[in-house]
């Protein structure tokens, strides 16, 4: 995901036109968006979340911040004073709207907005940013397409069905506990336009005729949103709860889940696993293996008391291709509140020791709670690794969600296979005896080219 100038950027036609005067018809909000927002971000965690268009430490008066929060789920319908005929014609196809729920989690999205609004339209008008639908709860959507202040109100479009309006940007920047989250808050367009139709019907009679001009919803029968399952591999991610600690995990066999040691640290401890395929299901299990604290591989293996029904078992990859499109599925940010989030990026580095991959890095947005979750190849759906951590700069305290580290599945697969087939933990125990160069890598130090020679 990243800001890209649109296709016509290099072909901007002169002459520049002045903006058109317009009038405010109505301010409208989507009550369901506000209800889900209050559920997700309200109450006890309110002080943790900031949606200001400025960084958390920038000077913004409390009143201004209060105003911003109150207006966050509000949009406006504006009527432009008559457009000169020739302009009205040239403006091409009408917008069509995706029904709520028609675009699945993980689907690619294109955001179009103007960073800093009217500050400098010659440079910033209609800038594009790309990402995926990361999560959805009712009309409240999240995307990892990175947007900037001023893009509030900008359109977010789907690649499939092509060019369909999915949502509008509600908050381009989200901060949690003073850390930039790297996700953009959206309000689904379909319910917003329904609210606009209702409101226009109640305004002055002449306004009601404008409702007919609002774009139609494509495809779905009215009010029967299509729930598309989304990429099949995303269902392999599970929520793992061990005592008061929770994190993510991935199903590697019908009764076997891999997570991080710091999620389920002690062997024999009991664990609850919640699959995404059914909201209410929860399956008990216990930790059969967890690496020691001294091992750089932060891994634990949970054996379940019953099979996980209907969860696709991911295919472990045998090769890594630096630069390939990847996706992380994890319960970071919202945990149990609304299922796992999908974030997209590329495999930014494959660190090897003796020609063996020992660490993967990606540009996906990874947050606390995603540990133990799966890293997939977006195109093949193969399992590439287990997310272990993101990055914090201890000097500045800044966290970088878009630099994160995963354990290659090739490190784990042989041992998991042996345990699945024989119940023998021997190979898994080998993960506690990892060569020094691998430890050095996971301590984020430069692996020594060769052992330092003694001067004696």
């Amino acid at each position: 995901a990243g800001l890209e100038s649109g296709p016509l950027a290099g072909h901007r036609e002169p002459p520049l036109q002045l903006p058109h005067p317009a009038e405010l018809l109505l301010l409208l909000s989507c009550p369901a968006f506000r209800a889900h927002f209050a559920h997700l971000f309200g109450s006890e965690t309110a002080e943790q979340w900031r949606f200001a268009s400025t960084a958390p430490d920038a000077e913004v008066s409390e009143d201004e911040e209060e105003d911003q929060l109150r207006a966050l789920g509000w949009f406006a319908l504006v009527r432009v004073r008559p457009i000169p005929e020739e302009e009205a014609d040239e403006r091409g196809p009408r917008v069509a709207v995706a029904p709520l729920g028609a675009v699945p989690k993980g689907a690619p999205l294109l955001a179009c907005g103007s960073p800093f609004g009217a500050f400098c339209p010659d440079i910033f008008l209609n800038t594009l940013s790309r990402g995926v639908l990361s999560n959805a709860t009712g009309p409240l959507l999240l995307t990892d397409a990175r947007c900037l202040p001023g893009t509030e109100g900008g359109g977010v479009f789907a690649a499939r069905p092509p060019g369909v309006l999915v949502a509008l940007v509600a908050a381009p920047l989200c901060w949690k506990s003073r850390e930039w989250v790297g996700l953009t808050l959206l309000c689904a367009a379909a319910p917003l336009l329904r609210a606009a139709r209702t409101a226009l019907g109640r305004l002055r009679p002449c306004a009601a005729s404008l409702a007919a001009l609002l774009p139609p919803e494509v495809g779905a029968p009215w009010g029967l949103p299509l729930r598309d399952p989304g990429p099949p591999w995303a269902a392999a991610a599970v929520l793992v709860e061990c005592g008061t600690v929770w994190g993510s995990g991935v199903v590697v066999a019908p009764r076997l889940v891999v997570t991080c040691r710091h999620v389920a640290p002690r062997e024999a401890s009991r664990v609850v696993v919640r699959p995404t395929t059914s909201k209410s299901a929860k399956i008990w299990g216990h930790v059969v293996f967890a690496t020691r604290e001294t091992s750089p591989y932060d891994i634990a293996v949970v054996s379940l008391e019953e099979d996980l029904e209907g969860v696709p078992i991911p295919v472990p990859t045998e090769h890594f291709h630096k630069g390939e499109a990847v996706s992380v599925v994890g319960f970071g940010i919202f945990g149990q509140a609304c299922g796992p989030s999908v974030t997209s990026g590329i495999l930014s580095a494959v660190v090897q020791v003796d020609d063996t991959p020992v660490m993967l890095q990606t540009t996906c947005a990874v947050h606390g709670g995603s540990s133990g979750g799966p890293l997939f190849s977006t195109h093949s759906g193969d399992l590439l690794g287990i997310v272990a951590s993101n990055t914090r700069d201890n000097n500045t305290g800044a966290t970088y969600p878009h630099l994160n580290f995963s354990i290659p599945v090739t490190v784990l697969q042989p041992a998991l296979q042996q345990y699945s087939q024989t119940g023998d933990l021997g190979s898994l125990r080998e993960l506690d005896h990892v060569a020094e160069p691998v430890r050095v890598v996971w301590r984020l130090q430069q692996p020594l080219a060769e052992a330092p020679r003694s001067k004696l």
Partner: protein, 110 residues
């Protein structure tokens, strides 16, 4: 961008716009602006973010959180509200409308 994005980019580029709000007769008060989507061209209808109207609400931003309020008519804002919509091909900032709150942007060399 891949071929799959052609239609989405065309629609995005052709419906994208910027909406700016200012106070009549008070250019020094600056302006507020955001992005928007052109829903219809004749007559021109644009959907944009509501945050830029907060400073103009007669009843203040509290009107947005009043229980059960799902919409507010256009005259909820004062008469001094002046709105402009601009879309590509790009347009310069209109004459006589100073930009308040210009972000202090610069392009430091990496």
């Amino acid at each position: 961008m891949g071929r799959q994005w052609g239609p989405a980019m065309r629609v995005a580029e052709q419906t994208g716009c910027v909406v700016s709000a200012s106070r009549a007769g008070q250019p020094e008060a600056g302006s507020w602006s955001c992005s928007g989507v052109i829903l219809s061209r004749r007559p021109g209808l644009v959907l944009c973010h509501g945050g830029i109207f907060t400073p103009f609400l007669r009843a203040g931003s509290g009107a947005l959180t009043a229980a059960g309020t799902a919409f507010l008519p256009g005259d909820s804002c004062g008469e001094d509200l002046r709105l402009h919509v601009q879309w590509g091909p790009t347009a310069a900032s209109p004459v006589g409308r100073p930009e308040r709150g210009r972000p202090a942007l610069c392009t430091p060399q990496c």
